[in-house]
Symmetry: C2
Subunit: 330 residues, 2 copies
């Protein structure tokens, strides 16, 4: 099943069922009006939406209309939790080496997960608004899951059963604010402004065999100002699967339905796969030549992130954002 949220002037938007090929859509009105409502009452509401989804895919839904991803908010425009992991050792390794540090050896036993802000999540075509390019504006392409309720102490395998939806995200980062926040130890706050999400949330079954072992085994394509900069396998080098990331959070507290848990920047050791964030590109430059030659993003830059399935069709729709200046009323 594929779902999205249309802008309607409200804070939570309007829940849509979207056809598998992303061509058509149907309001979920009569079943649920908001995405969180579905997550709150998944077992009762999701079968009804599945029925509508099948009807829509068969071209038989009576009030279907053309799907316009430009009209989408984030699938969850605001969420009660957004916790983001760092599950790709290559990402940790590159960034550590570039600053002359050793990568932590214990990432499998002691996952890196930070609590992100979730009160304001961006739609796939929303401008990403910043006040200052001197902050080092960077993207981070990643996969994420939306959970149901997860009990305190749930283990990694059982945690996977809580996965309700898969998302594609762009975790905007302000790189020059990161060192200060890392040093304080209080985590990322100013360095992690609002995260953006692809238009469509999908149930794991939509991915078929590409969803296995708690990972999304599909490539993430990234284009920066129209130029391809990445074609990175989101599963191959994800050392910790989503169940392990959820279990890390659940060790001392339960998670409530609608919690979003991210993988961290997708990353591959093979440099020809490209980079899931500019910080990695710069890290490779620093390691190779002693200094970074690639700048972070400028106002007016565009970023596109997309995942194509084995059939070549877009799974989540594309994130396609413009970096905008607050000063320009952007």
């Amino acid at each position: 099943m594929k779902l999205a949220t249309y802008k309607d002037g409200s804070r939570d938007g309007q829940l849509l069922v979207v056809s598998r090929d992303l061509h058509s859509a149907h309001f979920a009105t009569g079943i649920a009006t908001r995405m969180q409502q579905l997550l709150d009452d998944w077992n009762f509401l999701s079968p009804q939406l599945e029925d509508l989804y099948q009807t829509l895919n068969q071209g038989k839904a009576r009030h279907a209309f053309a799907f316009e991803p430009q009209r989408c908010m984030a699938p969850l425009p605001r969420a009660y939790q957004w916790a983001d992991g760092s599950a790709f050792p290559n990402h940790i390794d590159l960034l550590s080496r570039a600053r002359g540090a050793a990568a932590p050896a214990d990432y499998m036993d002691d996952p890196r997960v930070y609590q992100g802000g979730s009160d304001d999540l961006l739609g796939a075509h929303d401008d990403a608004v910043f006040a200052d390019t001197a902050w080092g504006i960077d993207f981070e392409a990643e996969l994420a899951v939306v959970t149901g309720d997860v009990a305190l102490g749930t283990g990694a395998d059982a945690a996977l059963d809580s996965v309700r939806l898969l998302l594609l995200a762009n975790d905007w980062s302000l790189r020059h604010l990161v060192p200060g926040e890392l040093a304080k130890g209080f985590g990322f706050l100013q360095s992690k402004p609002a995260t953006a999400f692809a238009p469509v949330a999908v149930t794991p079954d939509e991915l078929g065999a590409a969803w296995r072992g708690g990972r999304v085994h599909l490539p993430v394509d990234i284009a920066w100002n129209g130029q391809a900069v990445a074609h990175i396998d989101a599963g191959a080098e994800m050392a910790l699967h989503f169940g392990q990331l959820i279990a890390h959070i659940a060790r001392t507290r339960r998670l409530r339905a609608g919690s979003i848990v991210g993988s961290g920047t997708v990353s591959q050791r093979d440099a020809t796969a490209g980079y899931g964030c500019i910080a990695e590109k710069r890290a490779r430059e620093i390691i190779e030549s002693g200094s970074a030659s690639t700048d972070y993003m400028a106002f007016g830059d565009r970023l596109r992130v997309e995942v194509l399935g084995a059939d070549g069709a877009s799974v989540f729709g594309a994130i396609d954002q413009r970096v905008a200046s607050l000063g320009a009323g952007g």
Copy 2:
């Protein structure tokens, strides 16, 4: 105006107006059913609730009933944001000195604020459930505010205008998990399980002159297993006011209505005022004698936190929780 949320089997509970003396209450049905709904549409809904509040205080509300704080969820049982500051230099100073480190000198220019989990907030009388006392179970008594929408780049003074409600909180902390999370730099996740809140949220005008300069100038009383351990002024040594904490968050992103922002553990240099968390008590012991003699909390322990107004009456109602073991089905 005073507001609370009654348990009704739903995730968000039922919004109540509570009389100033906390003796009686009235469902807000017909105006708003949930606290977040009020925050989403404050300007339209709050005057209607104020009218009901006045009627209730006059004893003229037709369907009033006795207020039972035991039936309360957190005023916001789940929130889109819970960001917690560390605004009391004495707290930072004591904890730094106890581990042989210097307190950071820049806390006024570079506030300590961490992003907390907000998908599961505890009611004032809910058990605080933990799996293991070896984690170092500690309380942290603090004040918090609930904001309306705050624009990106809002300054400290303007940010104060966004304060809609004041809360009293107990930010449960697992002390022995803190050093590892501080070292990772990703912030507090496992070390900060679900936070509890006093039954009643109050509008700032309820405090009269005690709400000034963006601070709550009232003492916080804490009793651990029935023994008073603190009578700490929540305003006197709060170096950063709530507007400054909100502005710190708003530097790189806007805040959306219903964001909760905390002061961090209330603290006073005068040791006779007691301690707002056990970690401070232990820090004083370590500084004075080289080792800590006070243990963290045990299963079955009780913690009570309350703020009395100048008139001696409870402002928010009391937090009164039991530390329970997950293993005991607690």
